[in-house]
């Protein structure tokens, strides 16, 4: 009897550690360098995603805006928030680039073209990035301690995942036919 209790107790401990403890322990959580509000920029300034996250003329994605771009509007505080003042003092005035932590960076062995998805397929940013564009505060960046990848690759909170199977599923649903393979996908369509 006692033996069964110990085994069940161990089983419960294992399940608890695996389901509750492990997901917390595996990720390293870090705040973004600036308490940036997408919501204020969209609601009050009427900004659109591509105003700051532009696609360059050559089709490459510019990613995060530079501090020079931010400084075009925020050379002096436009509001009264402490976050804005802190941002100007710490980054805009000394011309120092903030080290943003990218939630959705693809690994180095993958080609991903924002231009193809946004301009050609007319996908909205929210399809992949969820409601990030309307958040009032940036989420902390959670990085897998072993693989080094962002937690966002698994999806959740209204966002689809970023794993290869997620890409393939979406391409199949959308009946996307890639250039180098008729009717199906080839490894080298996406992988370097």
């Amino acid at each position: 009897m006692k033996r069964n209790i110990l085994i069940v107790a161990g089983l419960a401990a294992g399940l608890g550690a695996g389901w509750a403890g492990f997901p917390r322990a595996i990720y390293n959580s870090r705040p973004q360098p600036v308490d940036f509000s997408h919501k204020i920029h969209i609601d009050k300034a009427g900004a659109k995603c591509e105003d700051c996250h532009a696609i360059r003329e050559d089709g490459s994605f510019a990613g995060f805006p530079t501090v020079e771009q931010c400084g075009a509007c925020h050379a002096a505080p436009m509001g009264t928030s402490a976050a804005e003042k802190k941002f100007i003092d710490a980054y805009v005035t000394p011309h120092k680039e903030p080290v943003w932590l990218a939630y959705a960076r693809q690994p180095e062995n993958v080609y991903f073209s924002h231009a193809t998805h946004v301009k050609r397929a007319q996908l909205k940013c929210e399809v992949c990035h969820g409601n990030e564009g309307s958040a009032d505060h940036p989420r902390p960046f959670e990085q897998d301690r072993v693989s080094g990848y962002s937690r966002d690759i698994w999806g959740g909170q209204g966002r689809p995942g970023m794993k290869m199977s997620d890409c393939v599923d979406c391409h199949r649903r959308s009946a996307v036919k890639n250039a180098t393979a008729v009717g199906d996908l080839s490894c080298l369509d996406c992988h370097k």
């Binding site: 006692k2 033996r3 110990l6 085994i7 069940v8 107790a9 161990g10 089983l11 419960a12 401990a13 294992g14 399940l15 608890g16 550690a17 695996g18 389901w19 492990f22 997901p23 595996i26 360059r56 050559d58 490459s60 510019a62 690994p107 180095e108 062995n109 897998d144 072993v146 693989s147 080094g148 990848y149 370097k192």
Partner: protein
């Protein structure tokens, strides 16, 4: 009291529980992902994609290059208005070559050369060997050597004329790799549809296979056809020497004379080859005087260029070799006899595969596309040109500019030599400036000096105005008789380029696609009587190297085919003559 058995029961339960959670399976996935990102795996650069322009410094052709850069890092090179050769396409790999030199003791080398200068005399001279003459750096060497007592400037001979492929309708190539890196690929291939190409060569080279007609002559007898075309050798005698039918040679000569303008091209455009062209009436049409961009008047005191053969044996006390650029190469065994027994040899090199193997001091030099310099006049440049090799990336700390080193020995300040020369060109008010980025051509007289220099230093090219060819030079087309029978073989080198000039990637592709010979093997025709796998010595006027024999029916009799490399480059001269001896 908890027993060990109870602990194990608890641990067993925990292990079973963990197997029913995502934890172990995630750890397997994460470990696999981690292994794809080992530290040390190269990461592609991220940043804005931009185009930069420069000129290729790997050979005297100096092709215009468009570099695709991510941020500041060049990631691919392509030609402007035409192609690049395979070496040029992979030129941006060279700074990362595994044999790259990055360290050297400048002070020690400078002191050794200073001692040699102090001890110099008429029988113990101080020399610079410049493997790519005609550059601004070459002018610096010549100016410095004019100021250094007993200085001598040694350089391989420059072409005796310039070639105008655009005007040619018949081209006879005497073994020149015309379609394989001999001149600017962009210019040659732009003109190619307009001329008929006859390639005279023992081997079926890439140029021979792409020519309109291939004349498979006996090895080493290519020049015979040039002499026959110029009328200094009877056709019958030319047929006997080359092994070609008399009628075929007569037909070729008739085609050259009747379907001109004609052009005869040889690997070295010597005065004799110029004389054959003049005899065909090519002067001012397909062969022109060689033009050089103007230089400042203050540079007039410069040492003349001297051929290595004319230097007395044992008379060089200090030799400085600039092999930082260029495809020119003189066999080391032809240089060695010229040195005094205790001579100081300083090699400015970016790799240890070349003369650095023989030097007493090796100083690391920048390599294309790190080095700022200019390109000598191209063999197919009709007008004078001034083109800079604009650095695409920074050279590593510790690299030395050979021209500045030599100038410092003579007390010259040559840091701004390129800029001074650009100012001298601008002062003439002649010529045009082409900027590749926007394709615009501007007259020099409409530009300010600083704008002219700024454009040049971002990859623009200056071209001089067209000039009259002047009076036809008087050069006798002579027949020197058949080449010496002491050297019945001709060495064919599979990859004719300076040692280690190629990116390792190009070498790998060549090996995989061309089934290249190993560096220790030489291929011979079965008729030569050597057995496969036996050892043989290749002897040349400069030295001897031992190889293992590969018998290959594709190699013509009289030819010994070897892979390119430093060992063979040490002994094979421009004419490639050799003999093969059983050992």
């Amino acid at each position: 009291m908890t027993t060990r058995r109870e602990l194990l029961q608890f641990a067993g339960g925990s292990a079973m529980g963990l197997l029913l959670t995502p934890a172990p399976w995630r750890l397997i996935t994460d470990t696999a992902l981690w292994s794809e990102n080992w530290p040390g795996i190269p990461r592609p650069a991220r940043g804005e994609i931009r185009a930069k322009f420069t000129h290729c410094g790997l050979c005297a052709a100096g092709c215009a290059v468009r570099a695709r850069c991510v941020g500041e890092q060049p990631v691919s090179l392509s030609g402007v208005a035409g192609g690049l050769c395979p070496f040029g396409v992979a030129g941006h790999h060279l700074p990362y070559h595994p044999e790259r030199l990055k360290q050297g003791n400048r002070k020690e080398a400078a002191e050794a050369v200073a001692r040699a200068i102090a001890a110099s005399g008429p029988e113990r001279r101080v020399a610079v060997l410049d493997l790519q003459p005609g550059r601004t750096a070459s002018w610096t060497y010549r100016r410095a050597l004019a100021a250094i007592p007993h200085g001598v400037y040694i350089a391989p001979p420059e072409p005796a004329c310039s070639l105008n492929f655009a005007a040619a309708r018949m081209v006879l190539s005497l073994g020149a790799p015309l379609l394989d890196g001999f001149a600017q690929p962009a210019r040659v291939f732009a003109a190619r549809p307009n001329f008929r190409l006859i390639q005279a060569e023992a081997m079926e080279s890439r140029t021979a296979s792409a020519a309109d007609e291939w004349l498979p002559v006996a090895p080493g007898t290519e020049a015979v056809l040039g002499r026959a075309a110029a009328g200094v050798l009877p056709v019958r005698q030319a047929a006997e020497m080359t092994g070609l039918p008399e009628g075929r040679i007569a037909g070729m000569i008739r085609a050259l004379r009747e379907n001109g303008p004609a052009l005869i091209v040889a690997p070295q455009m010597t005065p004799e080859v110029l004389a054959w062209n003049i005899a065909l009436g090519a002067w001012g049409k397909t062969v022109m005087p060689r033009r050089e961009a103007p230089v400042p008047k203050t540079w007039s005191k410069a040492a003349p260029a001297v051929a290595l053969e004319t230097v007395k044996d044992g008379s060089i006390g200090a030799l400085l070799i600039d092999e930082s650029v260029g495809d020119g190469h003189l066999p080391w065994e032809s240089i060695r006899p010229k040195l005094a027994t205790d001579a100081v040899v300083v090699a400015f090199a970016w790799t240890r595969s070349g003369y650095a193997r023989h030097a007493t001091h090796v100083l690391p030099a920048a390599v294309y596309p790190e080095a700022l310099g200019d390109v000598p006049p191209a063999v197919d440049g009709v007008n004078a040109e001034f083109r800079l090799t604009v650095p695409l990336i920074a050279s590593p700390d510790g690299t030395i500019d050979p021209a500045e080193f030599v100038a410092a020995l003579a007390g010259l300040d040559a840091k701004d030599a390129l800029r001074e020369r650009a100012a001298a060109i601008h002062a003439t008010g002649r010529g045009k400036l082409c900027t590749y980025a926007d394709g615009k051509v501007a007259a020099v007289k409409d530009l300010k000096p600083e704008d002219f220099w700024k454009a040049l230093s971002t990859g623009a090219a200056w071209t001089g105005d067209a000039e009259e060819s002047g009076r036809t030079p008087r050069i006798a087309a002579t027949f020197a008789g058949p080449s010496s029978e002491h050297w019945p073989f001709r060495v064919a080198i599979e990859t004719a380029c300076a040692p280690a000039l190629a990116s390792p990637l190009i070498g790998k592709l060549t090996q995989e696609s061309h089934l290249r010979l190993a560096a220790n093997r030489a291929a011979l025709h079965p008729r030569e009587g050597f057995l496969d796998g036996t050892r043989a010595a290749i002897e040349t006027p400069y030295g001897r190297r031992i190889f293992e024999v590969t018998v290959d029916v594709a190699v013509p009799p009289g030819v010994v085919l070897v892979a390119g490399g430093p060992e063979i480059a040490d002994i094979v001269g421009a004419d490639g003559c050799a003999r093969v001896v059983r050992i």
